[in-house]
Symmetry: C2
Subunit: 388 residues, 2 copies
Amino acid sequence: MELTNRELEMAERIRNIKQLSGSHSPGILSILKQVPEIALKVDACYLSNPYATDIFLSYFSRELIETGRIRDVVEFYPSQNRVIAGYLAKAVDASPETVFVSNGATEAIQAILQRRVPRKLLINIPTFSPYYEFAPKQTKVIYNRLNKESEFKLDSDRYIDMIRKEKPDAIVLINPNNPDGGFLSEEVILRVLEASKSVDTVILDESFVDFATLGSQPESPSMSGLCKKYRNLVLIKSLSKDFGVAGLRAGYAIMAPERVDDLLSNGFLWNVSGIAEYFFQLHLREDFKADYRQARRRYVNEVRSLHSSLRAIPQLKPYPTMANFVLTEITDGTRAADLEARLLVTHGVYVRNCSDKIGLEGEFIRIGARTSEENELVINAIRRSFNG
Amino acid sequence: MELTNRELEMAERIRNIKQLSGSHSPGILSILKQVPEIALKVDACYLSNPYATDIFLSYFSRELIETGRIRDVVEFYPSQNRVIAGYLAKAVDASPETVFVSNGATEAIQAILQRRVPRKLLINIPTFSPYYEFAPKQTKVIYNRLNKESEFKLDSDRYIDMIRKEKPDAIVLINPNNPDGGFLSEEVILRVLEASKSVDTVILDESFVDFATLGSQPESPSMSGLCKKYRNLVLIKSLSKDFGVAGLRAGYAIMAPERVDDLLSNGFLWNVSGIAEYFFQLHLREDFKADYRQARRRYVNEVRSLHSSLRAIPQLKPYPTMANFVLTEITDGTRAADLEARLLVTHGVYVRNCSDKIGLEGEFIRIGARTSEENELVINAIRRSFNG
């Protein structure tokens, strides 16, 4: 792929913005602020169900804006953590004392890493970078490499050997994993849990689980129920991606009651906003749940169809995914950074160049699914990028 | 004051709700949920400028709802802590690296207490209860009593002696103080700071400072500028009260850059919502600032006038205040709990019964100022309560 001068110049500017933003890809809004010439059509870097955003906004508009109730949620304090945990617990079928409401999953991740992992942490790579970035400074991070040759599947024998040998304080399983979308079956998770009884904390991050489907089951294959049996299991869940509401900062974790007590005795009293509280309350309502289920199904179909379209592009090798994105290797020698720049500058499509992901060797981009119209634009833009 | 049977029965129910809610007065919404018979007219327990809420809601409605920009702040991630600190710093005239953006002042209070006060904490009482509730378990809390006989004024000589003798890790000054509204002059604060150079952390909580006025000065008498000189000074500021937006969870702290770094290396990456970010951005705008200044002035006048009206009630002794509430002693032998119950049950007015405040002996209620019409209702309800 031979970039034009304009593409080269813009690629350079984007690279500089990225360097300043650390290990998180800069949001498209901050890129657009600094490079206003970009005519953005689709932000396929962003991992969020836009149909679910529509659902939340329609409830919000009807029930808070049109009625004037917005004043109450802005003017008054939200409920305290335990109160919100109480109604969330009903929605996710957990005991209230096992639920920790968090200001986005990030807050739960940071709190657990800071409080439970003083010495050693085992994570799979490639992974979601906060898991190593937010480990305490003195904590040793050990990496278990997932290989592209085996489609990033976890080799559970080798993994369990590693746990026995390294004796980490905590291990992290993201299911489905980010950035590859690989899914661990309940059987594998159970094997790991059984082998990890002397590990203080097993983090299972299910932030993308609502995009996974098993056979013809209508519900997502969450394994949150395992928290009842395994006292060292901490389940972390972002609600940003599946419900399309990252700006609300809403997530939660399920863990043994004494761990929730420990966190709450150290803060987190009023850690979500009044509007986030309204969102959490919607989870108890059949009308909202039915609307969400429909948005989920529709979106999951879009992801599957995006994956098929990517497979039909000869220069790409998309990996299997149960998440809402497709990790795609570029197999014709094109650099990921070049494809990223051309897509953004010439076609207005922003994808995630994964060159900076630790443990990922080769040229990879990650494409998040959007609406069907937007996905079509993305596919056409990629085809045209390769065809000059 | 002889309560009726109905008042007695309701008083009992309210007492039970309070016992369940811990040391924070239950919000009126949770009382109403459990005692729906109450016909609430004014929530004078709540400490927030309602005129400022109007201002925020008018910007929010015009700029986010009517334009559809609400979708962006809901769907996408807010900016990271440092970015928001960057524009807040401009608004409060501090260096960006000294600003820690927090999810309400509570988050900053909890973070500082947990990280900087391992051993001993000196606080004045009566005070805002989180300062002792959120101290680490092993930390010894030492109380310096403010006396009603001297109108809750700080005796700075005795206080400085106590600092020298006790050698606490941290001391807390709330200015104006909650629940009495007493104000410390810059001269006193400077004396304390000079005498506290060996104290690790001096917390100055200015959450109510926007309600204070000095002579004819148009701006609030914040002492945030002192952070530049005193490296152990941590200024904490809620924006819930002065801007009337507690539901947004927006606050900040100003402190030495290495202290901000320490906090951010332990979390707090995306700790405020997209709507809170919009609110922080408003602080940079001249139009919003002008509107807010007007709402502030109008409300401060209401507080002064509420204070005068309370002084004219023979059974009450209101203490001087520079905050947005009036701590009032009941001098005719009536119990604060009885007055609270009658006001709520018979007149629909909710005030804060301060019997549970550590360090406050006698019968006290705290009355938060609302709009002029609401304050008039409160005054009339109190008069009628005493007259049978």
